[in-house]
């Protein structure tokens, strides 16, 4: 049902745009192609920013830094009653969308799909966007290199999201 609504929504929205445009005497085909021309330019414009960010994140993940952090934080997390398996996901979800999905699938495979740890991980995965990807694409598209408060606010919101996900899941699934 949910997937049907989101699938049907787009074609209906497109029809609405076109009908509204035609009623307002907009030459829809010509206008469409004019606008679409920008698509190439914008996509190419974000490449340098995306390369910079993804290389840094890729290197960081490949170095094993996240596992190392998880190992160090393990006693502390156990003391707090937080499953240590969730830490890599908590870190990666702000850095890499595909990485976070991979880690989540791994957690689900080891603990089982109905385990509260898996459910908590699902809430973590679903409740956030890949902060560093969004920042580099959006700022990159208009050539902004000084991100100001967007970085710290994004990180704070992510941290808050992790803590809230843990609390809410503890109430909902345990």
């Amino acid at each position: 049902m949910i997937s049907f609504i989101s699938v049907a929504f787009i074609p209906l929205l497109i029809c609405f745009f076109l009908i509204y445009g035609t009623c307002k005497r907009v030459p829809v085909y010509e206008t469409f192609t004019q606008g679409a021309k920008e698509g190439f330019e914008i996509s190419v414009r974000i490449i340098p920013y995306l390369v910079a960010m993804m290389v840094a994140v890729g290197m960081f993940r490949a170095s094993g830094a996240i596992d190392l952090l998880a190992k160090w934080a393990n006693p502390f997390l156990t003391w707090l009653g937080i499953p240590a398996d969730l830490l890599p996901l908590a870190i990666v979800r702000s850095l890499s969308g595909s990485g976070a999905r991979g880690i989540f699938a791994e957690i689900a495979a080891t603990h089982g799909a109905d385990n509260p740890i898996t459910k908590t991980a699902a809430v973590m995965l679903g409740s956030s966007e890949t902060t560093f990807y969004v920042l580099s694409v959006y700022f990159g598209s208009v050539g902004i290199t000084k991100f100001r408060h967007a970085v710290s606010a994004g990180i704070i919101a992510d941290l808050a999201g992790i803590i809230i996900a843990l609390i809410v899941s503890k109430i909902a699934f345990y």
Binding site: S6, V51, A56, G64, V142, V151
Partner: protein, 203 residues
């Protein structure tokens, strides 16, 4: 700040790689990440062109102005910097709604259009983010989604008994994180507003 974060990621991964003996993996990650970045950007071209084409129709027909006028008061609360009835308000609305509905690949073109609009309003230093941009990206990085489609799909594929029971906890989490992010960014903007150059002050 982003300079230091970038530096931190790269330096720390090289240092750790030497201790972990993963320098080979790190080297390969450089190559594969570059390729991945380009393939993501190239992959965006089609969908980006498509939505930008439709958006042009929506702008030309005055639909975006209409949306902007209707939602102006709401958007004005979050973005007091944007002049009333500016079409960028409609782009922001479309971006937030597309994100909320989980239409990620439609949300990006809307968001970039909104960023272009905000960049036009950005004063003097065009390389530095404006206050409105900081708020806009805080909303986007919070990633408010009414239905966490990906997480549900993975749970369902593993035969979870009730994959949709994560919806309400996820909404509570994402909305609280969003509110905290907005309060935080608004506070920072108030304390450290974007510096205005001397020439502009005189004007």
């Amino acid at each position: 700040m982003i300079n230091y974060i970038w530096l931190f990621f790269i330096l720390s991964s090289v240092v750790i790689a030497f201790f972990n003996n993963t320098i080979q993996d790190v080297f390969h990650a450089i190559l594969s990440s570059c390729e991945q970045a380009v393939s993501i950007s190239i992959g965006l071209i089609g969908i980006m062109a498509f939505w930008l084409g439709l958006m042009k129709i929506a702008h030309a027909s005055g639909l975006m102005n209409l949306i902007a006028r209707i939602l102006s008061p709401l958007i004005h609360l979050l973005f007091p910097e944007i002049p009333k009835n500016n079409p960028v308000q409609a782009d922001i609305t479309m971006n937030i709604s597309a994100n909320a509905l989980g239409l990620g690949n439609a949300a990006t073109p809307f968001g970039i259009k909104a960023m272009e609009g905000l960049q036009k309003l950005n004063t003097h230093d065009k390389k530095t983010a404006s206050d409105a941009m900081c708020t806009f990206l805080t909303i986007n990085t919070a990633g408010v989604q009414l239905i966490p489609v990906t997480a549900i799909a993975i749970l369902a594929s593993l035969n979870a008994d009730n994959p949709t029971d994560i919806i309400i906890p996820t909404i509570i989490t994402t909305l609280s994180a969003l509110i905290i992010g907005i309060i935080f960014v608004k506070g920072l903007i108030k304390i450290f507003p974007k510096k205005v150059s001397r020439e502009e002050k005189i004007q």
